[in-house]
Amino acid sequence: MSDTPAIELRKINKRFGPVHANKDIDLVVKKGSIHGIIGENGAGKSTLMSILYGFYQADDGDIIVDGKKVTISDSKAAISMGIGMVHQHFMLVDNFSVLENVVLGAEDSALLSGGINRARSELKRLEEEYELRVDPEALIQDLPVGLQQRVEILKALYRSAEVLILDEPTGVLTPPEADHLFKILEVLKNEGKTVLLITHKLREIMAATDTVSVMRRGEMVATRETASTSMEELAELMVGRSVLLRVDKKPAQPKAPVMEVENLTVTDSRGVQVVKDVSFNVRAGEVVGIAGVSGNGQSELLETLAGIRRATRGTLKINGETIDLGTSTLDAADMRAKSMGHVPEDRHRMGLINSFSEYENSILGYHRDPAYSKGVLMDLAAIKKNAVAEIEKYDIRPPNPMLKTANFSGGNQQKIVLAREIERDPEVLLVGQPTRGVDIGAIEFIHRRIVEMRDAGKGILLVSVELDEIRALSDRVLVMFDGKIVGERGADADEGELGLLMAGVEDNNKMAVEGGAL
């Protein structure tokens, strides 16, 4: 093993419009090592790797491969430098055979037969060398995702990749498949290959890597030897101690539960259980926060309660009414009618229609409400009057109900959604990522509104990946990991302790959790 790093990045910058996805990134990857890059969703990991693979071009900065400064203008250049990438969403042609996919782009000559035959014998060799077994004639669409991923790895090896980038490789895998993948990576490493493993899962970093770099909000914040760091330290580095958010609030005066969830299990479209037998309640006059690294089932939990996603089983008691979620056909409108407001996690995808004007968005989902409609017609006068009132009360700027919501800033867009849901005065409010991509001023305003609602005796369920936000707002904190609630803490919870729970480190206080959750 020589000392020249396999890959070195110096001061890489990348902007997408106003978003600074990568800020002055430095990275050194040792040859023949497994190097992990960890960070939350949106931290800029995938962007950085896409730059290395030539899918995007950096705005500035240097890439040094094998000691030589290079320009990677497209994926072809990256491949020729021995860089291969397994993308998060597989880059495979579903109705092609494994062979055809492997050969695509590396066909040898204008006629296929030669390349296909070489690939067939080469695959056999790779299969023996790395134990990457897969039927070369099988169609991709007939293979399980674990094998599809193997095809992606084979594709890279076929192009004699020396550096293999894997972007969130375990996201689609079952735990045994993931274990098998890590064994493969170990074999690759022993054969002298360099592996870059991108993930937001701490456990994988600890299990598989030699070195780990942490990214947060587009910046590279630290690089550690995996052996000399801990999940706790990494969790802290990942989440960061950003602006310390403080919200003035009196102690909660919780009353009877307004929402009780029991044994809720949710399975996603891939057939993977994403929420596993979760039980908790929310009382009137309290904010219950759900903390967790994103992708641990919080989003699915929220969507299920909001009526957007179907549960496998579980019951929901709301305002004394019991609903069997396993069989219910209640949709989002029905749940709203049961006095449950929902501020979705992604305002662009679910909260707003950005090509609609502000006043139209201000009644989205409530357009059948008699207050805003007359028979089949909308009562535009009433809707606009309401919109103007909300604009004033929530200080939405610019104060123009006719403007398309696309033209409002993130903070003001979020206020529009929040105003719509809070002003319908629901008994329970589900809030997801209320301040994602929102400026500091709006964050304070939004937090104050949520606390006011709590003080008015409503129950609030808050899901956020910002630990500071959870700690600032919540009266009780539930931590979700791998689809389960792994711990409950009070409002004064210690950050390090929560970080450990979020990382999936076993809770030694389990009895207290079970006592407190019910």
Partner: protein
Amino acid sequence: MFEIVILTLDSTVRLSTPLLLACLAGLYSERSGVVDIGLEGKMLGAAFGAGAVAYLTGNAWIGLLAGMAVSIGLALIHGFASITNRGNQIVSGVAINFLAAGLTALLGQTWFRQGGRTPSLPEGGRFRDIILPYAEELRDVPVIGGIYSELLSGHNILVYAAFVAVPLTWWVLFRTRFGLRLRAVGENPAAVDTAGISVTWLRYRAVIACGALCGVAGAYLSIAQSSGFIKDMTAGKGFIALAALIFAKWKPANAMFACLLFGFLDAVAIRMQGQKIPGIGEIPVQFFQALPYILTVILLAGFIGKAIPPKAAGIPYLKERS
């Protein structure tokens, strides 16, 4: 009776040829992910270009090249709109249809002053029928004579070219590097991009191949099947070719059978004109003209298997922001 069958099949071949050429043209484009509703317009433009140039030069081959050039030009406009500028492919295709319909009539009238037609072609300006060896000698042999001398012999070169293009297209698609990449880019352009291949250049090549074949289809109409261009002479053949493409599930051999079927319906419609069928009476010719579309709708509704288009068809390729 046998003679009627042979004659009907003979005209089936003639009527299928432009459909088949246009259908294969569409196949190249759509397999690459570029939906092409502008086959009609490209055919019409090519028919006019071929008719006008063949008249002026008196050379059918130069006419053919001119037709192909016009069609490729229109295809490049479609490519520029839908590949480079990532525009809506349906809108661009419809625009090309209107452009061709208007421009051919206008230029035809301005240049030749014959109500939008081109003048009748001189000798040499039109593709002649080719008599296969021994066709005359074998004419009187029962069955074989009819098939060989009537059905197989006596077509112009473009007819033979169209049917040779079927196995050729299959070979290109499934046996060459270009074909593999073409099929891949129509299914998952991101896979092609990450394999280090230019999606844009690949799609442009597909669109050019489409234009070339469409050009032959158009030239066939004006300088092989008839002797000169007539306003709106494609009369919806581009759309029927598109229907045949869907009917064929984007496969070359299927495309040939679909086009032969639609050509046969057309031939029957012509033969049945004014004829009464006992017990039913006269079948309106419109019924036969509508049949290709009706069959396609039935297919799309899922009654005859499932027609699954290339997955990326109609979707402009844009590198996603992660």
